[in-house]
Amino acid sequence: SQQGEEDPQALSIQEGENATMNCSYKTSINNLQWYRQNSGRGLVHLILIRSNEREKHSGRLRVTLDTSKKSSSLLITASRAADTASYFCATKSGNTPLVFGKGTRLSVIA
């Protein structure tokens, strides 16, 4: 079963715009991770945020976590065509394995 649920399922923006993707989950977590997957490739880890953290930055990425709402958001600023990919959130709870959502497909149009 998939705990994380990304929203929207698909997003199309112009180069230079910001892209925001959301992830909602159901049970309490230890951490939440975001991964990127380019077409035909494996997943690449982007950022991990722990349950006691509220915000984290990495380059043009900004992740927030609201444990009271059981939700997280991934913001990509000043998007580039190379950011076109699928983005997945994954939740870690206790000793259970990571559970991935269905992903958001982002298209950045040059």
Binding site: G42, N95, F100, K102
Partner: protein, 119 residues
């Protein structure tokens, strides 16, 4: 540092035939995962190894799927016999080890996957 290596990258077989996938994790990574990814979906865990021990295989369809990780390094995933519904991408991932103390231990590193088409 070499990443996770998988082979083959693509495989086309007829239903009822056997198929095997191979994975070489990042050197030193104790934990190895096999995932199934259907089109438009996220990865779903099939089996997780800690060294050579399968510690989570609850999602592995054991009637036709099998896996092994001899010597706790490389791993193979086998399907016999394959069915039409097995067409998907099979991803292998590895991580340094089980534990909650370090973020790097919880990050998974994925291979490029094997795209299987069963006709």
């Amino acid at each position: 540092e070499a990443g996770v290596v998988q082979s083959p990258r693509y495989k086309i077989i007829e239903k009822k035939q056997p198929v095997a996938f191979w994975c070489n994790p990042i050197s030193g990574h104790n934990t190895l995962y096999w995932y199934l990814q259907n089109l438009g979906q996220g990865p779903e865990l099939l089996i997780r190894y800690e060294n050579e021990e399968a510690v989570d295989d609850s999602q592995l369809p054991k009637d036709r799927f099998s896996a092994e990780r001899l010597k706790g390094v490389d791993s193979t995933l086998k399907i016999q016999p394959a069915e039409l519904g097995d067409s998907a991408v099979y991803l292998c991932a590895s991580s340094p080890g089980q534990g909650e103390t370090s973020g790097s231990q919880e990050t998974q590193y994925f291979g490029p996957g094997t795209r299987l088409l069963v006709l």
